[in-house]
């Protein structure tokens, strides 16, 4: 296998006049989990579609598992697993049959597909739902089934578009656990998400995309270290008489933000600044110190306004 699982150079996607992806470069290495972060409309899903060979690139080069994306589409798709954002299971047949029918598209013999389907149902903890119809499944079960389905061809690269959107915390943690276990088995994971916690939990490296471009790239830790301060002090709903004092502290922080309901102070020395904040007439429970997160980077880079 090639050294990088996916490699893009000046990758561009145009829809008529609109440029959805504007000449991006990135590498996904073998045996890593790589995350595309970004607000809706950033070009993440478009990029994933080009990687999964369901959309042809307009320009640039894109190689997937050492093959040319789109031109070698059939071969690439044979070695890829795709977990879509929307449920697109066959509603009319059972959980088990969904897997077996899907396996056929990959020319997998029935005697291989049956046992593999049973195995994967156990892997995603759906073995007792084997004979259920799809409409009886919860959102989390459907997502786990979609993951099992994407694994039927034993893919080298698993592409997941917002794998846990809309799931409850239990289901989300179960999905994360399964994805980590796949990674240990050597499957390259490629996912889009706008849950920064998900990216921190799963991804070895991330890129943050915005308006068709990649703004930053690196491990979650690196990205946080290089694009936001290590600590953040939040002050919720400060009373009017504290405003002037808070505004004065702005210069003491490396960056400060005044939002509708709170102040945010980004700082390298949280304790020092915290004691100064505490000297103001504030309810102590409205002030707290936390570490910098990917979400801070994300919001700093892509803005707080609604983007669509």
């Amino acid at each position: 296998m090639a050294e990088s699982a996916v490699s893009a150079r000046a990758l561009t996607k145009r829809y008529g006049q609109f440029e959805a992806v504007k000449g991006i470069d990135f590498e996904v290495r073998a045996n890593e989990c790589f995350g595309f972060l970004g607000p809706n409309g950033a070009g993440k899903t478009t990029t994933m579609k080009m990687i999964a060979c369901s959309s042809p690139p307009s320009d640039g080069t894109l190689s997937v598992l050492g093959l040319r994306a789109w031109a070698d589409g059939r071969q690439i798709k044979g070695r890829l697993g795709v977990v879509p954002q929307e449920n697109n299971l066959d509603e009319e047949v059972s959980v088990f049959q969904n897997l077996v029918i899907y396996a056929r598209y990959f020319d997998i013999a029935h005697r291989v597909a049956g046992p593999r389907a049973e195995e994967l149902l156990a892997f995603v903890a759906l073995e007792d739902k084997r004979d259920w119809r799809i409409y009886g499944l919860s959102g989390g079960m459907k997502r786990r089934l979609l993951i099992a389905r994407a694994l039927m061809n034993e893919p080298e690269l698993l592409v997941l578009d917002e794998p846990t959107t809309g799931l409850d915390p239990q289901a989300r943690h179960l999905v994360w656990e399964k994805l980590r276990s796949l990674k240990r088995q050597g499957v390259v994971l490629l996912l889009t998400t706008h849950y920064m916690e998900e990216a921190s939990q799963l991804c070895d490296r991330v890129v943050i995309m915005h308006e068709g471009r990649i703004l930053v790239e690196g491990s979650p830790r690196e990205v946080i270290a290089s694009h936001t301060s290590p600590q953040v002090i939040e002050v919720f709903e400060p009373p009017g008489d504290a405003e002037a004092g808070l505004a004065e502290l702005e210069s003491a922080a490396s960056r400060a933000e005044r939002l509708a309901d709170r102040w945010l102070f980004y700082t390298n020395d949280g304790d020092a600044l915290l004691s100064r904040v505490r000297s103001l007439p504030l309810d102590p429970s409205s002030v707290w110190l936390r570490g910098g997160t990917l979400e801070d980077v994300f919001l700093a880079l892509t803005g707080r306004g609604l983007l669509e």
């Binding site: 999964a52 369901s54 798709k77 044979g78 598209y105 020319d107």
Partner: protein, 277 residues
Amino acid sequence: MARTATAVHPTAQRGLLRDVFRVPDVRLSAAWHLWQRDAAIYRRTYKLNILPNFFEPFLYLLAMGLGLGAYLSKIQGTRYIDFIAPGLVATASMYGASFEVTFNCFVKMQFGKIYDAVMSTPLTIEDIGLGEMLWSTTRSLIYGCVFLAIASTFGVVHSWLAIFAPLAVGLTGIMFSVIGLSFTAVIPLIDYFTYYWTMFITPMFLFSGIFFPLDKLPHAVRVVAWFVPLHQSVDLMRALILDGDAGAALASALWILVFTAALFVLPMNLLRRRLVK
């Protein structure tokens, strides 16, 4: 790995016509897998579906053939039921294929997002299009042959050429698969099928010479009728089942073959234009 801008623009420089009639990226073995998917799902419901299949032709033959036929003198020298039965076989085949490639395919594509799922496997959208046409042709064979079997118990088969009728049913099925799937590939909303059925299928059903012969109508009408797909199917069926006229059967079969072959790649390319962006 080198890739130029022109190589990746599938449609930019091409005319629309060249694009919709281009050679599709299709493999029969891949299309067959989609046929198997459709068949697996049909198998779950066929017992429910096949019964109306038996009833419908029975009711038509009973009401029109025997009921109305009782008031009619012989038509072109045969019983009325003998006259209409071949055309109803053609109609059953048309309906069988048309339901499948219109409503069923649209629901799969638009609401179930099934094609998106299948396109993330080694199948191309063109494979999916061909697979759907193969499956809808299979449905038309089931409809048409069941109808023919029931009709034959009314003694409407008068020629040994009727052994070729299943072939004619299949030809009719694939022709209406091509037409219907092309329509499905371009409409934005499911409501547009009302137009397909009330302005295309139903008028054809009424004016293709199933219930009355067209040879007494003005010349201009007969010229128009020659271009109507179902009319050719009806002529083909009548030549095989009633008249035993091999020459007439061949002429109609050839018409259907040429028409179907000319448009064969259209639905696959239209689906590609719709779903591959």
